[in-house]
């Protein structure tokens, strides 16, 4: 019945990193969407709505002054460009389920820990499948910035995952 609700909730969850806050942000966003409907110019409704969701999330986070929790571990910076696909291959074994769970947590935690400028472009691209043009409209940034932030976000994530796997390898 409601258009784009899952997309709105997914974005809100990854921006606020919390189910309850995502819920509140989506409620707020839909009410605003209806209030702002006069500004809707007949373009695709999804980016328009996601833009309102994004705004509602950041307003909520600002209110909560949650930025203290936003510090990303930048130690991975030195590994920029050095990480390759090989380190993402995980060993298979009798503990395959536990390993899969650990890997999932690692990717989740890394994404959650990423600064929101990078996290939002990555989520919109990989989970929502948005084109650069749509991301630019939603986040209110030039397409060139979308491109550079996306590249940076992927490097950060790659290095974070690779770093963690290397530590686990040498730690045992």
């Amino acid at each position: 019945m409601l258009p784009h609700l899952d997309a709105a909730y997914t974005l809100a969850f990854w921006l606020t990193r919390d189910e309850d806050r995502a819920r509140d942000a989506v409620q707020e966003a839909y009410l605003r969407a209806l209030r702002f409907f006069g500004s809707f110019r007949g373009e695709d409704g999804r980016p328009w709505l996601l833009k309102i969701v994004r705004h509602a999330c950041y307003e909520m986070l600002d209110r909560e002054r949650a930025s203290a929790a936003d510090q990303f571990d930048e130690e991975a910076q030195g590994a920029d460009g050095a990480a390759t696909g090989a380190v993402l291959v995980f060993p298979l074994g009798p503990e395959a389920a536990a390993i899969a769970r650990a890997r999932r947590e690692l990717v989740h935690d890394s994404l959650r820990a990423m600064p929101h400028d990078y996290r939002e472009v990555l989520v919109l691209r990989e989970l929502h499948g948005c084109a650069y043009k749509e991301i630019a409209a939603i986040a209110g940034i030039p397409i060139g910035t979308v491109m550079s932030r996306l590249a940076r976000a992927r490097r950060l994530l790659q290095a974070k995952i690779a770093g963690q796997v290397k530590r686990e390898d040498t730690g045992t």
């Binding site: 989506v26 409620q27 209806l34 006069g38 809707f40 409704g45 460009g81 993402l88 989970l127 929502h128």
Partner: protein, 234 residues
């Protein structure tokens, strides 16, 4: 295409954002250059990790219901279908009209439909069992602050539990006592019959102070669109 250009365009390449000639040039370079190929594979691996491990979420059913109830009414449905279909929204005039229609039907502030008697009409929607106690307390406070209030409680889903015979709150008190007090003060309690059917609860289980309505959600929509109630969800 050299390594520097490839590195710069690798992200738009994997995202399908390059035109054909640039994409072909990248492919050619990746075939020839092991270092750039490794970067490409690393990029694909991290993309796969995100899309595999970080799910596209499904909004909770309670959120969906609450939003639907909150924007119930014909106007809202039209707005929603417009949002869904970009072509149909080409006329801003119609959009503005629908927006006004929605505001009126939803009984929002500044709506064009003043309550008939200056009386505040509120429908409380209770859809979870653990919020019932707080809802009843809020409702009593609401009545104390605004004695002319007309309140209807619509219970739906697990929100019906507190209106069943013998149901007690965390302190061990019968909910029925508080419900009767509020009933005497003019509050009406309505229970969703669909919920009872779905959860195999006999209508006789419901305390006498509450009445049954065929659908809790439809009731909320009706109260808002036809009777000028505003919506509070607890």
């Amino acid at each position: 295409m050299n390594c520097l250009e490839t590195a710069r365009l690798l992200n738009p390449y994997v995202d399908g954002e390059l035109d054909l000639s640039a994409a072909l040039a990248i492919e050619e370079h990746i075939q020839a250059c092991a270092r750039c190929r490794a970067s490409f594979e690393g990029l694909q691996a991290v993309r796969a990790a995100v899309s595999r491990e970080c799910e596209f979420k499904t909004a909770p059913e309670s959120l969906r219901l609450s939003l639907e109830a909150g924007i119930a009414g014909e106007g809202a449905r039209s707005v929603v279908s417009l949002l869904r279909s970009p072509l149909a929204a080409a006329a801003p005039g119609i959009a503005a009209l629908l927006l006004v229609g929605w505001l009126m039907l939803a009984g929002a502030p500044n709506s064009g439909r003043p309550p008939a008697s200056g009386q505040t009409r509120v429908v409380y929607h209770i859809s979870a069992s653990d919020t019932a106690g707080a809802a009843l307390r809020n409702l009593a406070n609401h009545l104390n602050a605004a004695p002319e209030l007309k309140a209807v409680v619509v219970a739906h889903n697990y929100g019906v539990d507190f209106l069943l015979r013998g149901a007690r709150d965390d302190a061990g008190e019968l909910y029925e006592t508080a419900v009767r007090d509020l009933s005497r003060r003019g509050v009406e309690f309505r229970v969703c019959d669909n919920t009872l059917g779905r959860r195999n609860i006999a209508p006789g289980e419901v305390i006498p102070a509450a009445t049954l309505v065929p659908s809790g959600i439809a009731e909320i929509g009706r109260l808002q669109s036809r009777e000028g109630f505003i919506y509070l969800r607890l």
